[in-house]
């Protein structure tokens, strides 16, 4: 049962992401800001983090970079949720090492498929 952490300061969006994924048999965790997310990641070691970029305190970019720079957390799959679809946002997502990014508004079904295929890829690589 893959563990997925959903990080967004907007309760409505956390709710949407969870609603999109809840029937797929994942263990879904929630955090409302970057610091809370980091603590949960260290404690729970999720396989995937769905991370909003614009958050108070620690932004999604910063948290992503922290996780990817740390060998013990660098394997965690990270999907960034950005509000903008401009080139510089895509580049920023790549630079911090995110595995995928989605632009708001996003389709819940698309998210669902992306999550599933990323987890599938990871399992194939490991096995």
């Amino acid at each position: 049962m893959p563990k997925i952490l959903v990080v967004d300061d907007e309760p409505a969006l956390r709710f949407l992401i969870i609603a999109s994924l809840e029937d797929e048999g994942y263990d879904l965790l929630e955090a409302e800001d970057g610091f809370q997310a980091y603590d949960l990641i260290i404690a729970e070691r999720p396989e995937m983090v769905i991370l909003d970029v614009m958050m108070p305190g620690l932004t999604g970019y910063e948290l992503c970079k922290m996780l990817k720079d740390n060998p013990s957390t660098s394997k965690i799959i990270i999907i960034l949720l950005t509000a903008k679809a401009q080139l510089k946002d895509r580049l920023a997502s790549q630079q911090v090492g995110a595995d995928y990014y989605l632009t708001k508004p996003f389709s819940p079904l698309e998210l669902n498929e992306v999550v599933a295929s990323l987890l599938q890829n990871r399992r194939e690589i490991i096995s």
Binding site: E10, L16, S20, D52, M55
Partner: protein
């Protein structure tokens, strides 16, 4: 240079003048000398002639006369009494005795003929009457008797001048032969011989000598005159130049100050007085530092004196003080003046008053700066606007994501009823949020375009705040919203909807920026100056000091990078500030970063509103109203208050023309008109009523007469809706107005041009359950009758 030139010129002119004077004196004396010399020559010549005669006479008298043959030329002398006057020689020749006198006469005849020389022997007592003395000779003879040795002179006889000389003949022994009988004794003056010779030859020689001498002097004089004239003219020319230059300096548009080497002023031109206010008399002898303002340091003046002391020109700008204390700027150039030896004698300062120029320059710089600042601000605004686009993008996307996401889930997946409801609730809430965001934008747009409408009224602020707190308390269980309400808070004059908007904004900010929760206090107190103070205090993040001043600018958000997600558009406080200002209050923030913030605003209490009552009435236009036409102000106020309690807005006019103007020309018709019949001014109530009823636009506006006159019959004939006879109870007025408004056919006049809009309006009205009857339909005017039983304000809402 100039001094040198002048001294040399003056010297030359003086020398020339002296030279001329000496030459003239010398010339005069030389001419006199020449004249004297030639007189002396003439005199000597005359004397020698005289002496010759005297010697010859002596010789003759020594011989006691001589005998000569008698000839026609030498007749015997008739005046000689001598027995031997004629003698006969042995050979028969008759000889006659020629005595000195006769001989003299004979010689004189020859001299006269041959030499133009006249000898005249004469006496005061002549023997020969022909020898009588002429006048000059007589005077001479008389002078001889007084002891004179001789007498001479130049005498004019006709056109020619004669030199005459005369000397006495003294009686000698020999003389007595002839003249003893006259009683002379030896040594007496018996007479004299005058010698008369023409002076012309001497005169000619003298003139020639004078001419020669004169010509020398003339050459000298001409030379001196030429030199003198040259320099003299040059001096005159220079003086003219000098006058011109002096004039130029006097009339100069610049100040000219000349000092001596000690810095004492020796000359100022009139411009100096004009500029400084000091007259020439006041400054001559003083040092120019009387003008010092003290704005410029010692080094400045030291540098100046050093420069000009070294003989160089100094250029600079003084900030000086006038006599009256005004400051002014002078651009100065100071140069030393040297004499012909090169020694500095004076300093000349030429100064230009550049105060105006300076001011103009400063003004220009100020404008440039302002423009630059404005440009910076524009850039800042531009930057903020693009920031805003980002923020808005985020703010719009967040609710949109929820709405789209949940609706997609509902469409694509089969979800249970409970979940469906939850999803739909979220969709609804997010849509509401989106609406609020859009409204914020529109509000700001309206405020910036000046189209924000305020519906001000008397408000119990405590009530409004309490309602707001209840709404926001429900949204957060982590925060405790506390109301601290002072007793006896006066009513305020404000728009309740806008006030709620401001309070809501401040409360939601307080909640948002206190993420850790805690208490949020709203403190309502009455200020000292007829105002009510509302303070919203939180214990949250606080606001850095440098951000506090820009907090109320549109699009501004503290620390964009990490607070963006806290939400909001950056417009809330800007909107709040604009609303509070429009309501006549102030808003400000006090905050300590990290410890929380207090946002405070004030509202004028209702007493302020009373003072500005009339103005407000005129300004607040687009609202349905009851028109009160009443020239007694206190009565009008009672009506107003009475109707206000019944929820009617009123407008008061005190004369007929104003009533017609307000009733007819305003965009909106009154709901009803309360009309007094007795009015001051050109139109009384009857006339106003007639005109209202004649005008197609106003004839359906209900008119209620309020009068002391009991003429209800006439009133009703003219079409009034009700006729109230004063005094009447307030209730009656309210009842009458309500009836009039409700039973009247509301008439709305709309300047619509297209059928589409007409249809829309009709559709709108009909959808609200009104029967619409179109009675006039011209291209530019549509009058719609709206059927009875309308709520009071519907006509206005439509307009």
């Amino acid at each position: 240079m100039k001094n040198n030139f002048f001294s040399t010129t003056r010297f030359i002119i003086i020398i020339c003048t002296l030279l001329v004077i000496v030459a003239i004196v010398l010339m005069k004396s030389e001419i006199d000398g020449i004249k004297a010399l030639f007189q002396k020559v003439a005199l000597d010549s005359a004397k020698s002639h005289f002496n010759t005669i005297v010697i010859m006479r002596k010789w003759n008298s020594l011989h006691d006369g001589v005998y000569v043959p008698v000839t026609p030329q030498t007749e015997p002398n008739p005046y000689l009494e001598d027995p031997l006057r004629e003698v006969e020689t042995t050979d028969g020749m008759i000889l006659t005795k020629v005595n000195p006198a006769y001989m003299t006469r004979l010689i004189a005849d020859i001299a006269n003929q041959d030499l133009d020389l006249k000898f005249h022997i004469t006496s005061l007592k002549p023997l020969n009457p022909n020898n009588a003395a002429d006048q000059w000779e007589r005077q001479a003879l008389e002078s001889f008797e007084e002891g004179a040795k001789s007498n001479y002179g130049i005498l004019k006889s006709g056109t020619k001048r004669d030199f005459r000389y005369m000397a006495p003949l003294k009686v000698e022994n020999e003389c007595l032969q002839c003249h003893a009988k006259q009683g002379y004794q030896v040594g007496d003056i018996r007479g004299g011989i005058s010698v008369t010779m023409p002076y012309e030859p001497f005169q000619r020689a003298q003139d020639q000598a004078i001419l020669i001498s004169l010509s020398r002097y003339i050459i000298l004089l001409m030379f001196a005159a030429a030199v003198g004239t040259y320099f003299g003219r040059k001096t005159i020319f220079t003086e003219k130049e000098m006058r011109k230059l002096t004039q130029a300096v006097e009339q100069s548009a610049n100040s000219v100050v000349i000092t001596d080497t000690e810095g004492r002023i020796v000359y100022v031109n009139p411009k100096v007085e004009e500029v400084t206010g000091y007259s020439a008399a006041e400054v001559i002898g003083k040092n120019p530092h009387i003008l010092k303002s003290g704005e410029q340091g010692v080094e400045f003046y030291q540098e100046m004196w050093e420069t000009i002391g070294n003989g160089k020109e100094w250029h600079g700008t003084f900030h000086n003080k006038k006599k009256n204390g005004d400051m002014f700027w002078e651009k100065a150039s100071i140069a030393p003046v040297r004499d012909h030896r090169g020694t500095i004698t004076n300093y000349i300062a030429i100064k230009e008053d550049i105060t105006k120029l300076k001011e103009a320059t400063e003004e220009r710089e100020r404008l440039i700066n302002e423009t630059r600042q404005a440009l910076e601000q524009l850039k800042e605004v531009d930057h903020l606007k693009s920031e805003l686009v980002n923020v808005v993008s985020h703010e719009l996307r967040t609710p949109l994501t929820s709405i789209l996401g949940f609706s997609e889930l509902l469409l694509r997946k089969s979800v249970g009823e409970a979940k469906t409801k939850k999803y739909l609730t979220t969709i609804h809430n997010e849509a509401v949020r989106l609406t609020g965001l859009i409204n914020s934008f529109l509000d700001l747009q309206k405020i910036e375009a000046g189209r924000f409408e305020f519906k001000k009224q008397c408000l119990d602020i405590g009530e409004t705040v309490r309602n707001c707190i209840n709404v926001y308390q429900a949204q957060s269980d982590r925060h405790a919203l506390v109301l601290v309400l002072e007793e006896d808070i006066p009513l305020v004059w404000a728009d309740p909807d806008r006030l709620t908007q401001v309070l809501g904004n401040l409360l939601s900010n307080a909640i948002k920026y206190s993420p850790a929760g805690g208490s949020i206090e709203v403190n309502v107190s009455s200020g000292p100056t007829a105002e009510v103070k509302i303070a919203v205090r939180d214990h949250g993040l606080g606001i850095p000091e440098d951000a506090q001043s820009t907090l109320f600018q549109p699009f501004y958000r503290v620390d964009n990078s990490d607070r963006r997600q806290i939400g909001g558009t950056g417009l809330g406080l800007a909107i709040c500030q604009k609303i509070i200002h429009a309501l006549g209050g102030r808003i400000w923030v006090q905050s300590v970063h990290g410890l929380g913030s207090t946002f405070t605003f004030t509202l004028p209490d209702v007493t302020i509103q009373r003072e500005t009552n009339m103005k407000e009435e005129v300004r607040v236009a687009a609202e349905p109203f009851i028109l009160i036409v009443e020239d007694d102000r206190s009565t009008a106020d009672i009506f107003k208050e009475t109707l206000a309690t019944a929820g009617y807005t009123t407008r008061i006019v005190d004369n007929g023309p104003a009533a017609l103007a307000l009733a007819i020309t305003e965009q909106m018709l009154p709901l009803a008109i309360i009309l007094d019949l007795v009015l001051v001014g050109p139109l009384d109530g009857w006339e106003v009523l007639r005109r209202l009823k004649q005008d197609v636009r106003t004839k359906n506006v209900p008119v209620i007469i309020s009068s002391c006159l009991e003429k209800s019959q006439e009133g009703l004939e003219l079409g009034v809706t009700d006729y109230l006879v004063k005094p009447f109870p307030p209730d009656k007025l309210v009842e009458s107005v309500r009836n009039a408004v409700q039973t009247a056919n509301g008439v709305v006049e709309l300047p619509f041009t297209t059928q589409k809009i007409e249809d829309e309006v009709k559709g709108l009205l009909e959808s609200k359950g009104f029967a619409v009857q179109e009675i006039i339909n011209r291209d530019d005017l549509l009058v719609i009758f709206i059927d009875s039983a309308l709520p009071g304000k519907i006509g206005g809402d439509l307009a």
